[in-house]
Symmetry: C2
Subunit: 300 residues, 2 copies
């Protein structure tokens, strides 16, 4: 089997369709790379692109996409509901097939070096690629956002791993790293009650931190201005432990207890089949729902 990695860059642009299209086109310019999905969110003001390919093709592809985004997105003019530090906010690399995490880390270092050397963009490594313990967690690297970096400079422990010692004037900085698969999953409330959404997100973090469930689930509250609703935005970083359904049903139960309905949920990017099976299995108390049960897997 061929080595395959997945790359899920997050760009700080969710409103100008033409800009996102040009970035996606740049990424898709490598023949061996397949763009699986991209989504734009007007309130997050953010686009998430999911693509897969052989490691060195992905390396060229993400460099082209980053170059386009640095040229097209000015963070000084950016407003949105989601934390961010760069026009290319974060570049996660996920080992997908026939490739180790160590190889994915090595690939992330090459990608970071390409960007730092050629685009004058300071690079931080996070997750498995982190060079310092306090840079493992993206939320810590991103603390205060673009504005704090612009105001304070890249000093006092915020010196980048690679690249210039000052942030790019329009594109900020970027964060690159290899990580395991995660599920980006949001639950929208049928309410604009941000106090409720914040309380639910905090309760989820507290339960996680106390070991009582929702293991590996990161949750924040985001206001979706265009729709005037509150969202609980999550990353499920240990999909073998917590499922989309655990997250969904937790938010639904908590919201209902406050007299609020769930409007809908939202998957950003992709999900592994086993995670889908886990969610369906929990939603219907249906044990033994394995890939073997999916008839399509016997047809290929």
């Amino acid at each position: 089997m061929a080595k395959l990695v997945q790359c899920i860059p997050n760009f700080s642009e969710g409103r100008r369709v033409d800009v996102v299209r040009r970035i996606v086109d740049s990424i898709a310019s490598e023949a061996e790379v397949k763009v699986v999905d991209y989504s734009m969110d007007v309130d997050h003001n953010r686009a998430v692109v999911t693509f897969v390919g052989p490691p060195q093709d992905v390396r060229r592809s993400i460099f082209a996409g980053t170059k386009a985004a640095v040229e097209l997105i000015d963070l000084n003019k950016h407003k949105g509901g989601h934390p961010r530090v760069g026009s290319v906010d974060v570049i996660p690399i996920v080992p997908l097939q026939d490739i180790s995490m160590a190889e994915a880390v090595a690939l992330s270092r090459e990608i970071g070096k390409d960007i730092a050397d050629n685009l004058q963009l300071p690079v931080y490594f996070y997750e498995q690629s982190a060079t310092m313990r306090h840079r493992t967690n993206l939320a810590d690297v991103r603390k205060g956002g673009f504005e704090a970096l612009r105001e304070n400079g890249l000093i006092d422990g915020r010196e980048p791993d690679l690249g210039p010692s000052k942030m790019h004037p329009t594109a900020g900085v970027t964060v690159v790293g290899a990580r395991g698969p995660l599920i980006a999953f949001n639950v929208n409330l049928a309410s604009n009650d941000m106090k409720a959404a914040r309380a639910i997100a905090k309760k989820m973090r507290d339960i996680r931190d106390s070991g009582g469930g929702l293991q590996g689930v990161k949750a924040i509250a985001v206001y979706l201005k265009s729709r005037d609703i509150a969202q609980v935005s999550t990353n499920i970083t240990l999909p073998h432990q917590a499922s989309m359904y655990e997250v969904y049903s937790f938010v639904e139960r908590e919201a209902n207890a406050m007299g609020i309905e769930v409007l809908e949920s939202e998957l950003i990017g992709t999900i592994r089949e086993e995670s889908l099976l886990k969610a369906a299995s929990e939603a219907m108390k249906l044990p033994n729902l394995t890939t073997k049960r999916v008839l399509d897997n016997w047809m290929r």
Copy 2:
């Protein structure tokens, strides 16, 4: 692509493991055939085998399995919670890949002829293969079960489509036909209240018949003696319309209204990926959950 059909024979034996193994081994003797799954249920006293393969391989395979079952299962000694008319109770053929329903019907006729000519087993054609309108629905063909056929004979409109005019002394009759995919899905109550299970199953049929939902869902109540619990046993025959989750949540809601919890649910055999996505989508109010979102589909 190669022509592929799925065959899901139901055998009236769910207790003697050695018997079921011998039947499954007979089916698996054709090299091109893959046995995807088989399950035994001690209370239904029934085994369901799921296998796939090219049409003529499946034809030889199901003949071998039927021959073994006719030799090994005596319906006169059979007791179980599920309706049945034969040792090989029903042989559904489902077109899977690169094959039309018309071809699957033609295949079912060949299979029926093999069995009638060589095993002295009367054969009825049902579903898409039915030769008479009132034989379309399996429940009608099976009315009264083995015992009614043994007592009354194959007369008064119950003359078989092929084979002897008297039922096989130990194996009864069999029902063969091509049909679309269905989901065999059971919901077990945490209760032995068969009155409740029957009421739920009846309400499901009434709602279906009135066009108010649960389209194409067949539901009966079955008592699971070994576990002393009541089951709502369903076939979801229009999986594009009703999902596993619609069935599950309906049973759960009705049971809860009677103060009864759902213990668990159970999938017999296999499910198509699109049906799984539909169920997960409904369970989490998650629109746009398409096969494209399943990362595994980009890896093959």
